[in-house]
Amino acid sequence: MTPYVSLASYLVLFLLGGFIAVFAALVVGWLVRPNNPAEDKLEVYECGEPTIGSSWIQFDLRFYVVALLFVVFDVEVAFFFPWATVFGTARHLADPSVTEQSVRAALTAKLAGAPIEEVRPQAVPEGSTQEAISHEDAWTITALAVADLAVFFGVILLGFAYLWKRGDIEWVRSTLAEERTPEELVEELAAPEEEQPQLTLTGASSATSSSP
């Protein structure tokens, strides 16, 4: 059995066990609990006030923006996971102090994606001539991994800086944040009349209020 097959079988068994446990609990509850329906019990509890309309309405767009940002960043994190293992392993292989053949063979197997049972040093037979990646090749892999990360990370950081600047990661986007301070207001009022045709307290031109 390869680990992938066993992972799938464990998953199915566990999922089954979970659902059986849940439905057993619900069915037992259904059998023993009282059933005493009344019209009032069918109402939504909103602190005793009569409900006005459905709650399935448009909701705040900010939640949607957060979800979009999450997708981008979570995909990024998901890509980092395999990168971290490959980088760590390759860097270990490139270390000149790691010379033991069995260790190197195990690390090479791990880098190649071998199942976990085979990547232990003790799993490699004594005196085996199994090929291991040389220090130089491991060094090349490490350098490549660093370059990969630098590019990937650079793009992500650029995006993050842009989001920050645009104010998308700001939760409070009230007009209060855009209000002029008393000093600014005085300054503006002192300026010549024709340069400020519409003077409002809540200017909508600031960067923090930008919406897609």
Binding site: V22, S55, F70, W171
Partner: protein, 380 residues
């Protein structure tokens, strides 16, 4: 290993988790009581020892209300998802010593030798957000809906720093396999000493992921009644509750495994110890570590006030994510540099890391203070 044996193991572990959860709730109530100078539950049995059983019976006998305007199917599905995903995540968490290369040794984990263990936990536990958002939406209650949306935004926002913080550990351990991560700490020092910043980020994000105070916005009773589970009663409510506490157990085990050396305890029990007694001792060591974490989480809940929602989002996106990215880059660079100089001595790496982190945190703190004093001039 035969299927029967696997099923047996699943049943025993799951049943044990349910029992543990029931008593954790009692423990939480007791801790809350003592922190608030009360006595807590003491009617059912000696010092309330039978309270969980009484609660269970109550949950079963409680009438089940479903609002007429709710979506009945999703309303029933949501607590099931909460429970199933919480238990599923525990499948790869070792609760004792495991060694997949030695098939004769007892494997104290439901699914031993999973290469992608950590990735699996992240993917499964992030499914739990469906339970919250579906439960909130299906109830057709404005409070539930708002609670569900908030929870979704919170959980997905904190998942990013959580993943990034764990990446530092993966870089050091060179594996996603939880058993390997423990093995990597056995011959060295616990990762909390190499990753102090990563540990703090992980801790904060874990609190938010489990919807625990000070980040229990989804169910803040003062503004949202009961949050997403306002319209739930009886066994369905109990399933949400069980799922939440199972999540706490998983997170506590993960903390002990990732940052506190798992079942390794210097001078008492080492990775090389074999045999029945050593195995038992290791299970106990891990259990005690996880238990300390659980008590810590409860202690925090009854000590710190709740965050406001905008503070919560600001903490995630403007503090934790940049710090976690910094931690990742620093760890990668230090691992790389240390090996380039033949500096395999892990202690020196750790000390260098601590110095760099300390300097950066100091700069940030000073900048923050200056900014805060400037802001307070306008009273915002």
């Amino acid at each position: 290993m035969t299927v029967v044996w696997i099923v047996l193991k699943i049943l025993v572990v799951t049943a044990f988790i349910q029992l543990a959860v029931a008593y954790l709730i009692l423990l939480e109530r007791k801790i809350a009581a003592y922190i608030q100078q009360r006595i807590g539950p003491n009617r059912a049995g000696w010092h309330g020892i039978l309270q969980p059983i009484a609660d269970g019976v109550k949950f079963l006998l409680k009438e089940d209300f479903v609002p007429e305007s709710a979506n009945k199917f999703l309303h029933a599905l949501a607590p099931a998802i909460a429970m199933v995903t919480a238990v599923m995540a525990f499948a790869v968490v070792p609760f004792g010593p495991t060694d997949p290369s030695d098939p004769d040794a007892p494997q104290f984990v439901i699914a031993p030798g999973i290469d992608v263990g950590l990735l699996y936990i992240f993917s499964v536990s992030s499914l739990a957000v469906y339970a919250v958002i579906l439960g909130g939406w299906a109830s057709n209650n404005k409070y539930s809906f708002l609670g569900g949306l908030r929870s979704a935004a919170q959980v997905i926002s904190y998942e990013i720093p959580l993943g990034l913080a764990v990446l530092g550990v993966i870089l050091l351990a060179r594996s996603l396999n939880l058993e390997q991560i423990v093995a990597a700490q056995a011959d060295r020092v616990w990762f909390v000493f190499y990753q102090p910043l990563g540990f703090l980020i992980f801790l904060a994000a874990a609190f938010a992921e489990t919807n625990r105070a000070p980040f229990d916005l989804p169910e803040c009773e003062q503004e949202l009644v009961g949050g997403y589970h306002t319209e739930y009663s009886g066994m369905k409510f109990a399933l949400f509750f069980l799922g939440e506490y199972t999540h706490i157990i998983t997170v506590s085990y993960l903390t002990a495994i990732l940052f506190f050396g798992g079942w390794d305890l210097p001078f008492i029990v080492s990775a090389d110890d074999r045999g029945f007694l050593a195995g038992l001792l290791k299970v106990l060591v891990l259990l005690v570590k996880a238990f300390c974490m659980i008590v810590f989480m409860m202690w925090v809940r009854w000590t710190l006030p709740r965050f406001r929602f905008d503070q919560l989002m600001r903490l995630a996106w403007k503090a934790l994510i940049p710090l976690a990215l910094l931690n990742l880059v620093l760890t990668a660079v230090l691992v790389h540099v240390a090996r380039s100089f033949g500096l395999v001595d892990q202690f020196r790496v750790a000390v260098a890391y601590l110095w760099v982190i300390g300097a950066i945190v100091l700069v940030i703190a000073v900048g923050w203070l200056i900014n805060a004093s400037r802001r307070s001039a306008y009273g915002t």
